[in-house]
Symmetry: C2
Protein backbone atom coordinates (compact mmCIF):
# COMPACT_ATOMS: atom_id res chain seq x y z
CA UNK A 1 0.00 0.00 0.00
CA UNK A 2 2.63 2.50 0.98
CA UNK A 3 5.40 1.46 -1.34
CA UNK A 4 5.02 3.88 -4.21
CA UNK A 5 6.65 7.20 -3.45
CA UNK A 6 6.33 10.20 -5.70
CA UNK A 7 9.94 11.17 -6.31
CA UNK A 8 9.92 14.74 -5.12
CA UNK A 9 12.31 16.30 -2.69
CA UNK A 10 13.20 14.77 0.62
CA UNK A 11 12.40 11.18 1.41
CA UNK A 12 10.83 12.01 4.75
CA UNK A 13 8.40 14.35 3.01
CA UNK A 14 7.48 11.73 0.43
CA UNK A 15 6.86 9.13 3.09
CA UNK A 16 4.79 11.51 5.16
CA UNK A 17 2.71 12.35 2.09
CA UNK A 18 2.20 8.68 1.22
CA UNK A 19 0.87 7.96 4.70
CA UNK A 20 -1.24 11.11 4.72
CA UNK A 21 -2.80 10.11 1.42
CA UNK A 22 -3.63 6.71 2.86
CA UNK A 23 -5.32 8.38 5.82
CA UNK A 24 -7.34 10.76 3.67
CA UNK A 25 -8.32 7.94 1.33
CA UNK A 26 -9.53 5.89 4.25
CA UNK A 27 -7.01 3.11 3.69
CA UNK A 28 -5.74 3.71 7.19
CA UNK A 29 -8.51 3.94 9.74
CA UNK A 30 -8.77 5.85 12.97
CA UNK A 31 -6.85 4.27 15.85
CA UNK A 32 -5.15 1.85 13.49
CA UNK A 33 -1.54 1.24 14.35
CA UNK A 34 1.22 1.89 11.85
CA UNK A 35 4.08 -0.59 11.62
CA UNK A 36 6.99 0.15 13.94
CA UNK A 37 9.57 2.68 12.85
CA UNK A 38 12.10 -0.03 12.03
CA UNK A 39 9.58 -1.94 9.97
CA UNK A 40 8.49 1.17 8.08
CA UNK A 41 12.15 1.78 7.40
CA UNK A 42 12.48 -1.64 5.86
CA UNK A 43 9.31 -1.28 3.79
CA UNK A 44 10.27 2.09 2.38
CA UNK A 45 13.90 1.19 2.13
CA UNK A 46 15.11 4.04 4.31
CA UNK A 47 16.69 4.40 7.71
CA UNK A 48 14.83 4.75 10.94
CA UNK A 49 15.78 8.43 11.31
CA UNK A 50 14.17 9.22 7.98
CA UNK A 51 11.00 7.41 9.00
CA UNK A 52 11.00 9.32 12.27
CA UNK A 53 11.23 12.65 10.48
CA UNK A 54 8.26 11.60 8.36
CA UNK A 55 6.27 10.60 11.44
CA UNK A 56 7.09 13.88 13.17
CA UNK A 57 5.71 15.72 10.18
CA UNK A 58 2.46 13.82 10.54
CA UNK A 59 2.41 14.32 14.28
CA UNK A 60 2.78 18.07 13.76
CA UNK A 61 -0.43 17.98 11.75
CA UNK A 62 -2.19 15.94 14.42
CA UNK A 63 -2.62 13.09 11.97
CA UNK A 64 -0.95 10.56 14.25
CA UNK A 65 -0.05 10.18 17.90
CA UNK A 66 2.76 8.04 19.25
CA UNK A 67 3.00 5.93 22.34
CA UNK A 68 6.08 4.44 23.88
CA UNK A 69 6.63 1.04 25.34
CA UNK A 70 5.51 -2.43 24.42
CA UNK A 71 2.45 -2.40 22.18
CA UNK A 72 3.22 1.26 21.59
CA UNK A 73 3.71 2.80 18.19
CA UNK A 74 2.12 5.38 15.93
CA UNK A 75 -1.66 5.45 15.72
CA UNK A 76 -3.96 7.29 13.36
CA UNK A 77 -5.55 10.13 15.25
CA UNK A 78 -9.21 10.98 15.16
CA UNK A 79 -8.91 14.71 14.54
CA UNK A 80 -11.33 16.53 16.78
CA UNK A 81 -12.54 20.09 16.32
CA UNK A 82 -10.79 20.95 19.56
CA UNK A 83 -7.48 19.72 18.17
CA UNK A 84 -7.96 21.52 14.90
CA UNK A 85 -8.83 24.94 16.34
CA UNK A 86 -5.39 26.03 17.60
CA UNK A 87 -3.65 25.04 14.40
CA UNK A 88 -6.24 26.86 12.35
CA UNK A 89 -6.06 29.99 14.47
CA UNK A 90 -2.27 30.06 14.34
CA UNK A 91 -2.27 29.78 10.57
CA UNK A 92 -4.91 32.48 10.18
CA UNK A 93 -3.04 34.81 12.49
CA UNK A 94 0.18 34.34 10.56
CA UNK A 95 -1.60 34.81 7.25
CA UNK A 96 -2.84 38.18 8.43
CA UNK A 97 0.44 39.35 9.89
CA UNK A 98 2.66 38.10 7.08
CA UNK A 99 0.63 39.25 4.09
CA UNK A 100 -0.08 42.77 5.27
CA UNK A 101 -3.80 42.23 4.97
CA UNK A 102 -5.56 45.51 5.58
CA UNK A 103 -7.63 45.99 8.69
CA UNK A 104 -10.65 46.63 6.45
CA UNK A 105 -10.30 43.33 4.65
CA UNK A 106 -9.89 41.32 7.82
CA UNK A 107 -12.75 43.16 9.46
CA UNK A 108 -15.01 42.66 6.49
CA UNK A 109 -14.29 38.94 6.51
CA UNK A 110 -15.01 38.75 10.18
CA UNK A 111 -18.36 40.46 10.04
CA UNK A 112 -19.41 38.67 6.90
CA UNK A 113 -18.68 35.41 8.64
CA UNK A 114 -20.60 36.40 11.73
CA UNK A 115 -23.51 37.61 9.71
CA UNK A 116 -23.83 34.11 8.35
CA UNK A 117 -24.32 32.81 11.87
CA UNK A 118 -26.98 35.25 12.94
CA UNK A 119 -30.06 33.52 11.49
CA UNK A 120 -29.02 30.18 12.94
CA UNK A 121 -28.08 31.67 16.28
CA UNK A 122 -31.37 33.55 16.49
CA UNK A 123 -33.22 30.36 15.73
CA UNK A 124 -31.53 28.00 18.14
CA UNK A 125 -29.52 30.04 20.62
CA UNK A 126 -29.32 28.09 23.87
CA UNK A 127 -29.39 29.64 27.35
CA UNK A 128 -25.75 28.81 28.00
CA UNK A 129 -24.51 30.66 24.92
CA UNK A 130 -26.70 33.60 25.72
CA UNK A 131 -25.37 33.56 29.26
CA UNK A 132 -21.82 33.52 27.91
CA UNK A 133 -22.58 36.57 25.79
CA UNK A 134 -24.12 38.41 28.73
CA UNK A 135 -21.17 37.53 30.92
CA UNK A 136 -18.74 39.03 28.43
CA UNK A 137 -20.86 42.16 28.13
CA UNK A 138 -20.75 42.48 31.89
CA UNK A 139 -17.00 42.06 31.86
CA UNK A 140 -16.61 44.71 29.20
CA UNK A 141 -18.37 47.21 31.44
CA UNK A 142 -15.77 46.89 34.17
CA UNK A 143 -13.62 49.97 34.48
CA UNK A 144 -9.88 49.57 34.59
CA UNK A 145 -9.98 46.86 31.97
CA UNK A 146 -6.93 46.93 29.72
CA UNK A 147 -7.37 47.20 25.99
CA UNK A 148 -6.06 43.68 25.62
CA UNK A 149 -8.58 42.31 28.08
CA UNK A 150 -11.36 44.26 26.44
CA UNK A 151 -10.44 42.82 23.07
CA UNK A 152 -10.16 39.34 24.50
CA UNK A 153 -13.64 39.70 25.91
CA UNK A 154 -14.83 41.04 22.59
CA UNK A 155 -13.48 37.94 20.90
CA UNK A 156 -15.12 35.73 23.50
CA UNK A 157 -18.45 37.47 22.94
CA UNK A 158 -18.36 36.93 19.22
CA UNK A 159 -17.19 33.40 19.65
CA UNK A 160 -20.19 32.71 21.85
CA UNK A 161 -22.36 34.13 19.10
CA UNK A 162 -20.83 31.78 16.55
CA UNK A 163 -21.15 28.84 18.92
CA UNK A 164 -24.77 29.81 19.38
CA UNK A 165 -25.44 28.91 15.78
CA UNK A 166 -25.18 25.31 16.95
CA UNK A 167 -23.16 24.11 14.00
CA UNK A 168 -19.71 22.73 14.85
CA UNK A 169 -18.53 22.84 11.25
CA UNK A 170 -19.54 26.43 10.79
CA UNK A 171 -17.99 27.36 14.11
CA UNK A 172 -14.74 25.72 13.13
CA UNK A 173 -14.58 27.61 9.86
CA UNK A 174 -15.38 30.96 11.39
CA UNK A 175 -13.77 31.08 14.79
CA UNK A 176 -10.36 31.57 13.25
CA UNK A 177 -11.65 34.59 11.36
CA UNK A 178 -12.57 36.12 14.68
CA UNK A 179 -9.63 34.97 16.78
CA UNK A 180 -7.01 35.95 14.25
CA UNK A 181 -8.33 39.52 14.30
CA UNK A 182 -7.33 39.99 17.91
CA UNK A 183 -3.75 41.12 17.29
CA UNK A 184 -5.07 43.78 14.92
CA UNK A 185 -7.76 44.85 17.35
CA UNK A 186 -5.24 45.06 20.15
CA UNK A 187 -3.47 47.84 18.30
CA UNK A 188 -6.45 50.11 18.69
CA UNK A 189 -6.86 52.03 21.91
CA UNK A 190 -10.46 52.14 23.02
CA UNK A 191 -11.62 55.27 24.76
CA UNK A 192 -14.33 55.06 27.39
CA UNK A 193 -16.81 56.35 24.84
CA UNK A 194 -15.81 53.77 22.23
CA UNK A 195 -16.31 50.99 24.71
CA UNK A 196 -19.72 52.22 25.76
CA UNK A 197 -20.85 52.30 22.15
CA UNK A 198 -19.51 48.85 21.40
CA UNK A 199 -21.10 47.39 24.51
CA UNK A 200 -24.40 48.90 23.44
CA UNK A 201 -24.18 47.07 20.12
CA UNK A 202 -23.29 43.89 21.90
CA UNK A 203 -26.34 44.26 24.11
CA UNK A 204 -28.51 44.90 21.09
CA UNK A 205 -27.25 41.75 19.44
CA UNK A 206 -27.77 39.65 22.54
CA UNK A 207 -31.29 41.03 23.02
CA UNK A 208 -32.20 40.35 19.42
CA UNK A 209 -30.84 36.82 19.57
CA UNK A 210 -32.76 36.21 22.76
CA UNK A 211 -36.01 37.23 21.12
CA UNK A 212 -35.14 35.24 17.98
CA UNK A 213 -35.14 38.41 15.94
CA UNK A 214 -32.58 37.73 13.24
CA UNK A 215 -33.28 40.89 11.30
CA UNK A 216 -32.64 43.12 14.28
CA UNK A 217 -29.53 41.16 15.20
CA UNK A 218 -28.16 41.56 11.70
CA UNK A 219 -28.83 45.27 11.80
CA UNK A 220 -27.03 45.60 15.12
CA UNK A 221 -24.10 43.60 13.82
CA UNK A 222 -23.93 45.76 10.70
CA UNK A 223 -23.94 48.86 12.87
CA UNK A 224 -21.13 47.41 14.96
CA UNK A 225 -19.14 46.57 11.84
CA UNK A 226 -19.62 50.10 10.64
CA UNK A 227 -18.53 51.58 13.93
CA UNK A 228 -15.45 49.37 14.06
CA UNK A 229 -14.49 50.57 10.60
CA UNK A 230 -14.80 54.16 11.83
CA UNK A 231 -12.53 53.44 14.78
CA UNK A 232 -10.01 51.85 12.45
CA UNK A 233 -10.08 54.95 10.30
CA UNK A 234 -9.45 57.15 13.30
CA UNK A 235 -6.61 54.93 14.38
CA UNK A 236 -5.02 55.09 10.98
CA UNK A 237 -5.36 58.86 10.84
CA UNK A 238 -3.74 59.16 14.26
CA UNK A 239 -0.86 56.92 13.28
CA UNK A 240 -0.37 58.85 10.07
CA UNK A 241 -0.20 62.09 12.02
CA UNK A 242 2.40 60.63 14.35
CA UNK A 243 4.45 59.53 11.40
CA UNK A 244 4.26 63.00 9.92
CA UNK A 245 5.50 64.68 13.07
CA UNK A 246 8.26 62.11 13.42
CA UNK A 247 9.31 62.97 9.89
CA UNK A 248 9.31 66.66 10.75
CA UNK A 249 11.69 66.10 13.64
CA UNK A 250 13.90 64.00 11.44
Amino acid sequence: MKYTLKPNGELSAQIALAIQDAIVAGTLLVDERLPSESELGERFGVSRSTVREALKRLAAKNLIRTQRGASGGAFINRISFEDAYPQQITTSTLLLSMNDVSFETACEARYAAERACIPLAAQRCQPDHLAAMRAEIHRQKQSGLSDESFCASDVAFHRALVDGAGNAVLAYQLVSAIESMQPLMNMITFSERDRTTIIQFHSDIADAIETHDATRAEAALAALANYTATLADQFRAKREKLRQSAKAVD
Copy 2:
Protein backbone atom coordinates in the same frame (compact mmCIF):
# COMPACT_ATOMS: atom_id res chain seq x y z
CA MET B 1 15.56 33.97 22.97
CA LYS B 2 14.79 30.32 22.38
CA TYR B 3 16.36 28.86 25.48
CA THR B 4 13.40 28.33 27.78
CA LEU B 5 11.55 25.15 26.97
CA LYS B 6 8.27 24.24 28.57
CA PRO B 7 8.95 20.76 29.94
CA ASN B 8 6.21 18.82 28.28
CA GLY B 9 6.63 15.62 26.36
CA GLU B 10 9.24 15.13 23.68
CA LEU B 11 12.11 17.52 23.27
CA SER B 12 11.59 17.92 19.54
CA ALA B 13 8.01 19.03 20.17
CA GLN B 14 9.12 21.54 22.79
CA ILE B 15 11.75 22.98 20.50
CA ALA B 16 9.32 23.21 17.60
CA LEU B 17 6.85 25.01 19.84
CA ALA B 18 9.48 27.44 21.09
CA ILE B 19 10.41 28.39 17.55
CA GLN B 20 6.78 28.57 16.47
CA ASP B 21 6.03 30.91 19.36
CA ALA B 22 8.92 33.11 18.29
CA ILE B 23 7.51 33.24 14.78
CA VAL B 24 3.99 34.06 15.92
CA ALA B 25 5.30 36.68 18.32
CA GLY B 26 7.24 38.31 15.53
CA THR B 27 10.62 37.69 17.16
CA LEU B 28 11.63 35.78 14.07
CA LEU B 29 10.83 37.62 10.87
CA VAL B 30 9.94 36.37 7.44
CA ASP B 31 12.95 35.12 5.45
CA GLU B 32 15.13 35.28 8.52
CA ARG B 33 17.55 32.40 8.76
CA LEU B 34 17.59 30.12 11.78
CA PRO B 35 20.95 29.01 13.14
CA SER B 36 22.28 25.82 11.60
CA GLU B 37 21.03 22.51 12.94
CA SER B 38 24.27 21.89 14.82
CA GLU B 39 24.18 25.31 16.39
CA LEU B 40 20.54 24.94 17.41
CA GLY B 41 21.51 21.64 18.95
CA GLU B 42 24.17 23.35 21.05
CA ARG B 43 21.83 26.16 22.08
CA PHE B 44 19.04 23.85 23.17
CA GLY B 45 21.44 21.28 24.53
CA VAL B 46 20.17 18.47 22.32
CA SER B 47 21.51 16.44 19.45
CA ARG B 48 21.21 17.31 15.83
CA SER B 49 18.62 14.58 15.19
CA THR B 50 16.32 16.04 17.79
CA VAL B 51 16.68 19.48 16.25
CA ARG B 52 15.93 18.00 12.86
CA GLU B 53 12.74 16.38 14.10
CA ALA B 54 11.69 19.74 15.47
CA LEU B 55 12.43 21.46 12.17
CA LYS B 56 10.51 18.83 10.23
CA ARG B 57 7.51 19.52 12.43
CA LEU B 58 7.73 23.18 11.51
CA ALA B 59 8.27 22.40 7.84
CA ALA B 60 5.13 20.26 7.85
CA LYS B 61 3.19 23.33 8.93
CA ASN B 62 4.82 25.46 6.24
CA LEU B 63 6.39 27.63 8.91
CA ILE B 64 9.91 27.16 7.56
CA ARG B 65 11.64 26.05 4.39
CA THR B 66 15.10 24.55 4.21
CA GLN B 67 17.85 24.93 1.69
CA ARG B 68 20.95 22.90 1.31
CA GLY B 69 24.45 23.99 0.60
CA ALA B 70 26.62 26.86 1.74
CA SER B 71 24.54 29.76 3.04
CA GLY B 72 21.66 27.29 3.17
CA GLY B 73 19.65 26.58 6.28
CA ALA B 74 16.15 26.94 7.61
CA PHE B 75 14.29 30.13 6.77
CA ILE B 76 11.07 31.50 8.12
CA ASN B 77 8.41 31.11 5.48
CA ARG B 78 5.98 33.79 4.46
CA ILE B 79 2.80 31.72 4.55
CA SER B 80 0.73 32.51 1.51
CA PHE B 81 -2.96 31.82 1.11
CA GLU B 82 -2.07 29.39 -1.67
CA ASP B 83 0.14 27.41 0.72
CA ALA B 84 -2.48 27.41 3.43
CA TYR B 85 -5.40 26.22 1.32
CA PRO B 86 -4.44 22.55 0.85
CA GLN B 87 -3.62 22.07 4.50
CA GLN B 88 -6.88 23.66 5.51
CA ILE B 89 -8.93 21.60 3.05
CA THR B 90 -7.29 18.36 4.15
CA THR B 91 -8.03 19.08 7.78
CA SER B 92 -11.63 20.01 7.06
CA THR B 93 -12.17 16.91 4.99
CA LEU B 94 -10.79 14.69 7.74
CA LEU B 95 -12.86 16.48 10.36
CA LEU B 96 -16.00 15.66 8.41
CA SER B 97 -15.11 12.05 7.69
CA MET B 98 -13.76 11.22 11.14
CA ASN B 99 -16.43 12.82 13.28
CA ASP B 100 -19.46 11.50 11.42
CA VAL B 101 -20.79 14.97 10.84
CA SER B 102 -24.24 14.76 9.32
CA PHE B 103 -24.83 15.83 5.78
CA GLU B 104 -27.29 18.41 7.05
CA THR B 105 -24.78 20.04 9.36
CA ALA B 106 -22.08 20.22 6.71
CA CYS B 107 -24.54 21.49 4.15
CA GLU B 108 -25.90 24.12 6.49
CA ALA B 109 -22.40 25.36 7.21
CA ARG B 110 -21.62 25.51 3.56
CA TYR B 111 -24.63 27.56 2.57
CA ALA B 112 -24.39 29.81 5.58
CA ALA B 113 -20.83 30.55 4.60
CA GLU B 114 -21.76 31.25 1.01
CA ARG B 115 -24.62 33.43 2.03
CA ALA B 116 -22.11 35.63 3.78
CA CYS B 117 -20.33 36.18 0.49
CA ILE B 118 -23.34 37.09 -1.58
CA PRO B 119 -23.63 40.78 -0.72
CA LEU B 120 -19.94 41.35 -1.33
CA ALA B 121 -19.94 39.31 -4.51
CA ALA B 122 -22.98 41.17 -5.83
CA GLN B 123 -21.29 44.45 -5.08
CA ARG B 124 -17.89 43.84 -6.61
CA CYS B 125 -18.08 40.73 -8.77
CA GLN B 126 -15.47 41.00 -11.52
CA PRO B 127 -15.95 39.77 -15.11
CA ASP B 128 -13.43 36.96 -14.66
CA HIS B 129 -15.23 35.47 -11.69
CA LEU B 130 -18.55 35.75 -13.47
CA ALA B 131 -17.02 34.11 -16.51
CA ALA B 132 -15.74 31.30 -14.32
CA MET B 133 -19.22 30.76 -12.93
CA ARG B 134 -20.75 30.73 -16.41
CA ALA B 135 -18.10 28.30 -17.61
CA GLU B 136 -18.92 25.86 -14.83
CA ILE B 137 -22.62 26.15 -15.56
CA HIS B 138 -21.89 25.36 -19.17
CA ARG B 139 -19.85 22.34 -18.14
CA GLN B 140 -22.62 21.11 -15.90
CA LYS B 141 -24.98 21.06 -18.85
CA GLN B 142 -22.84 18.57 -20.75
CA SER B 143 -24.44 15.17 -20.97
CA GLY B 144 -22.39 12.14 -20.07
CA LEU B 145 -20.77 13.99 -17.19
CA SER B 146 -20.03 11.65 -14.29
CA ASP B 147 -21.43 12.44 -10.87
CA GLU B 148 -17.90 13.11 -9.66
CA SER B 149 -17.24 15.59 -12.44
CA PHE B 150 -20.58 17.25 -11.87
CA CYS B 151 -19.79 17.66 -8.19
CA ALA B 152 -16.32 18.94 -8.97
CA SER B 153 -17.83 21.53 -11.25
CA ASP B 154 -20.36 22.39 -8.58
CA VAL B 155 -17.52 23.00 -6.16
CA ALA B 156 -15.72 25.11 -8.73
CA PHE B 157 -18.85 27.20 -9.30
CA HIS B 158 -19.30 27.93 -5.64
CA ARG B 159 -15.64 28.61 -5.24
CA ALA B 160 -15.83 31.19 -7.98
CA LEU B 161 -18.73 32.76 -6.11
CA VAL B 162 -16.68 33.00 -2.94
CA ASP B 163 -13.72 34.40 -4.84
CA GLY B 164 -16.05 36.93 -6.37
CA ALA B 165 -16.51 38.49 -2.97
CA GLY B 166 -13.02 39.86 -3.49
CA ASN B 167 -11.83 39.20 0.02
CA ALA B 168 -8.88 36.83 0.29
CA VAL B 169 -9.35 36.30 4.01
CA LEU B 170 -12.99 35.44 3.66
CA ALA B 171 -12.24 33.15 0.74
CA TYR B 172 -9.61 31.34 2.76
CA GLN B 173 -11.98 30.77 5.64
CA LEU B 174 -14.82 29.53 3.48
CA VAL B 175 -13.32 27.58 0.62
CA SER B 176 -12.56 24.67 2.89
CA ALA B 177 -16.22 24.53 3.92
CA ILE B 178 -17.09 24.05 0.27
CA GLU B 179 -14.25 21.80 -0.82
CA SER B 180 -14.53 19.46 2.13
CA MET B 181 -18.16 18.81 1.22
CA GLN B 182 -17.21 17.17 -2.04
CA PRO B 183 -16.72 13.63 -0.70
CA LEU B 184 -20.19 13.81 0.82
CA MET B 185 -21.73 15.22 -2.33
CA ASN B 186 -20.05 12.52 -4.40
CA MET B 187 -22.10 9.93 -2.58
CA ILE B 188 -25.30 11.31 -4.07
CA THR B 189 -26.33 10.23 -7.53
CA PHE B 190 -27.80 13.09 -9.54
CA SER B 191 -30.56 12.29 -11.98
CA GLU B 192 -30.93 14.33 -15.15
CA ARG B 193 -33.81 16.17 -13.55
CA ASP B 194 -31.80 16.98 -10.41
CA ARG B 195 -29.02 18.43 -12.49
CA THR B 196 -31.35 20.59 -14.54
CA THR B 197 -32.83 22.03 -11.38
CA ILE B 198 -29.44 22.71 -9.81
CA ILE B 199 -28.14 24.32 -12.97
CA GLN B 200 -31.19 26.58 -13.02
CA PHE B 201 -30.38 27.77 -9.50
CA HIS B 202 -26.77 28.33 -10.51
CA SER B 203 -27.91 30.42 -13.44
CA ASP B 204 -30.22 32.41 -11.19
CA ILE B 205 -27.37 33.13 -8.83
CA ALA B 206 -25.02 34.16 -11.61
CA ASP B 207 -27.67 36.42 -13.17
CA ALA B 208 -28.41 38.06 -9.86
CA ILE B 209 -24.74 38.63 -9.14
CA GLU B 210 -24.25 40.12 -12.57
CA THR B 211 -27.03 42.62 -11.98
CA HIS B 212 -25.73 43.34 -8.46
CA ASP B 213 -28.97 42.07 -6.99
CA ALA B 214 -27.90 40.62 -3.66
CA THR B 215 -31.42 39.94 -2.45
CA ARG B 216 -32.29 37.84 -5.47
CA ALA B 217 -28.97 36.01 -5.28
CA GLU B 218 -29.59 35.18 -1.64
CA ALA B 219 -33.02 33.88 -2.47
CA ALA B 220 -31.66 31.67 -5.25
CA LEU B 221 -28.95 30.36 -2.95
CA ALA B 222 -31.51 29.61 -0.26
CA ALA B 223 -33.61 27.74 -2.78
CA LEU B 224 -30.58 25.76 -3.86
CA ALA B 225 -29.75 24.94 -0.26
CA ASN B 226 -33.28 23.79 0.26
CA TYR B 227 -33.23 21.63 -2.83
CA THR B 228 -29.91 20.06 -1.84
CA ALA B 229 -31.39 19.18 1.53
CA THR B 230 -34.27 17.47 -0.27
CA LEU B 231 -31.89 15.44 -2.40
CA ALA B 232 -29.97 14.43 0.69
CA ASP B 233 -33.21 13.27 2.28
CA GLN B 234 -34.07 11.19 -0.77
CA PHE B 235 -30.60 9.69 -0.73
CA ARG B 236 -30.88 8.78 2.91
CA ALA B 237 -34.32 7.23 2.39
CA LYS B 238 -33.00 5.17 -0.52
CA ARG B 239 -30.03 3.95 1.50
CA GLU B 240 -32.27 3.09 4.41
CA LYS B 241 -34.49 1.08 2.12
CA LEU B 242 -31.49 -0.81 0.77
CA ARG B 243 -30.37 -1.57 4.27
CA GLN B 244 -33.82 -2.88 5.15
CA SER B 245 -33.94 -5.26 2.20
CA ALA B 246 -30.40 -6.42 2.94
CA LYS B 247 -31.54 -7.20 6.47
CA ALA B 248 -34.52 -9.14 5.12
CA VAL B 249 -32.23 -11.35 3.03
CA ASP B 250 -29.98 -11.87 6.00
